[in-house]
């Protein structure tokens, strides 16, 4: 592949906190953003969000406000607020926030499993609960799947191709891979990629409950007695750049994205498939051009559901060679929860930092080994681990798989 892809900017917000340094520091300290919710609905006390969740209590929009104007940011649904805050950080980090010419020529590919759920819920409360025959005139533009990417384009003055990708929990991993292909195809020198989700509202909460995929205690990836996933929220943005362009302007290069592999199970709506997921991992290795015994840090999909972790173990054990101990598996959902449409991006981002710093942060909530999850897990505390590459897995509902591989920049 002639055009190489540099990762030159990172930004995120999650229940762990706001900003990449905060998320990374808390992850390394073994801290979690997951806590127990017990919130009755203000109008319907019988409805209650009760159970573990990774909630963002507060977002500091002051930097985005100063950039875009408070009147712009104040009218956004949380799904767009998270995206704007993360992207402002990533562009600042990349040294592009004050470069309108480069931004105008950039592309954006941004993932989301859904749109503005808070606005949608407000509208339904007015119509169906209160009998008010009107909703806010911005309900459609705030709830559409492309709500966040539209705001990113307008706020940051990005005039190239911009669109949203929706593939459930693989959305932002797919966004990163497709953004990279845009650069490789010569359609842009810079592409902003990532994802956002805000699904901790009552409608989403009850929908996830109905799926019976949520843990009642906490998220325990690859552990014995794991019970399920924990919903989170937030956004993560990475700035991808033509390597020559990045070097020419003296950008900081966190990593090089060397491979992206995708596949679809064409199988079950919610149950994972080792065959399908394995095909995505193998495709990523093939594109990256690295042997499977290369020491890697795996940023696992690791949802903490009984079936996902078992299947992911089967996949990684079939792919990784050279002895499992030369590799290390991290599962950061145990700290920031499941960010759905932002999950792939935040897990790639945190994996890039682990690769850069030569450390493996711990998987939280671990109770003991499960024979069906026999992987070289990072447990206990953050320890040094010198990997040569990062493998970041996303295996979504619908059997939509996306795997990213990066090496040190």
């Amino acid at each position: 592949m002639s055009v190489r892809i540099a990762v030159t900017g990172l930004g995120c917000v999650s229940a762990l906190g706001q900003s990449v340094p905060t998320n990374w520091a808390r992850l390394k300290e073994g801290e979690t953003g997951i806590r127990r919710l017990s919130q009755p609905h203000p109008d319907q006390p019988r409805l209650i969000r009760e159970g573990p969740a990774a909630v963002i209590d507060r977002v500091d929009t002051s930097a985005a406000d100063a950039y875009a104007g408070r009147k712009v940011t104040a009218q956004l649904d949380p799904v767009a607020v998270y995206a704007v805050v993360a992207t402002h950080e990533a562009l600042t980090d990349a040294g592009l926030i004050d470069d309108p010419v480069t931004l105008a020529g950039a592309n954006i590919v941004y993932g989301g499993a859904s749109g503005g759920n808070a606005t949608m819920e407000d509208g339904y409360v007015r119509i169906l609960l209160k009998g008010q025959a009107s909703v806010h005139p911005l309900t459609i533009p705030k709830t559409m799947s492309s709500a966040a990417v539209s705001q990113l384009s307008m706020i940051f003055g990005v005039k190239g191709i911009a669109f949203a990708i929706s593939s459930a929990c693989s959305s932002s991993a797919h966004a990163i891979s497709e953004a990279a292909y845009m650069i490789r195809a010569g359609r842009a020198k810079v592409a902003i990629a990532g994802g956002t989700d805000s699904s901790l509202h009552y409608g989403s909460w009850y929908s996830w409950l109905a799926l019976q995929a949520m843990a009642t205690d906490t998220c325990r990836p690859f552990s014995i007695d794991r019970k399920g996933m924990v919903l989170g929220e937030g956004a993560a943005t990475v700035v991808l750049e033509d390597m020559d362009h990045a070097k020419a302007r003296g950008a900081t290069i966190y990593a090089e994205l060397i491979g992206a592999g995708g596949s679809s199970d064409a199988g079950h709506l919610t149950a994972p498939s080792a065959e399908g997921a394995g095909a995505a991992v193998r495709a990523a290795y093939a594109e990256a051009g690295i042997p499977t015994d290369t020491p890697v840090i795996v940023s696992a999909h690791g949802t903490g559901t009984p079936l996902n972790d078992k299947t992911e173990t089967e996949v990684m054990r079939s792919v990784l060679t050279g002895g499992l101990d030369r590799h290390r598996v991290i599962a950061t959902k145990s700290a920031h929860g499941h960010l759905l449409g932002a999950g792939g991006a935040i897990e790639f981002l945190l994996g890039v930092l682990a690769l850069r710093d030569g450390v493996a942060p711990p998987i939280l909530g671990y109770l003991g080994p499960d024979p069906e999850c026999d992987l070289p897990l990072s447990l206990g505390e953050t320890r040094p681990f010198e990997a040569e590459a990062l493998v970041s897995n996303s295996f979504a509902f619908g059997g939509l798989n996306s795997v990213l591989i990066a090496k040190r920049g």
């Binding site: 408070r70 009147k71 104040a74 009218q75 119509i127 169906l128 209160k130 009998g131 008010q132 025959a133 009107s134 806010h136 005139p137 911005l138």
Partner: protein
């Protein structure tokens, strides 16, 4: 619940992101940067806070803070006396 001019001004300040002290009676909405979408947000906030229903079309032609407050106070108190929101059937969709 009766709606006072002060409580309306609080909501106008909050929803339109204008300093409360800048909301003088003669100040024009245009000079304060209060646009039609802000007025809709103000109306929605009043509806949620006081459990009333206001017609957005009533606010066409309003140019100053005083006019906005007056019309809201009159309409809101009339609506509050007429009964709580929800008494009207929802739109049939």
């Amino acid at each position: 619940m009766s709606v006072s001019p002060d409580s309306v001004l609080d909501i106008i300040a909050e929803e339109s992101l204008v300093e409360r002290s800048a909301l003088t009676p003669d100040a024009t909405l245009e000079s304060l940067g209060i646009q039609s979408l802000d007025i809709i947000s103000i109306v929605f906030a009043l509806e949620d806070k006081f459990g009333i229903v206001l017609e957005q079309s009533e606010f066409e032609g309003v140019t100053t803070v005083q006019q906005l407050v007056d019309i809201i106070v009159v309409k809101a108190n009339a609506a509050a006396e007429a009964g709580p929101a929800g008494a009207e059937p929802a739109a049939k969709a």
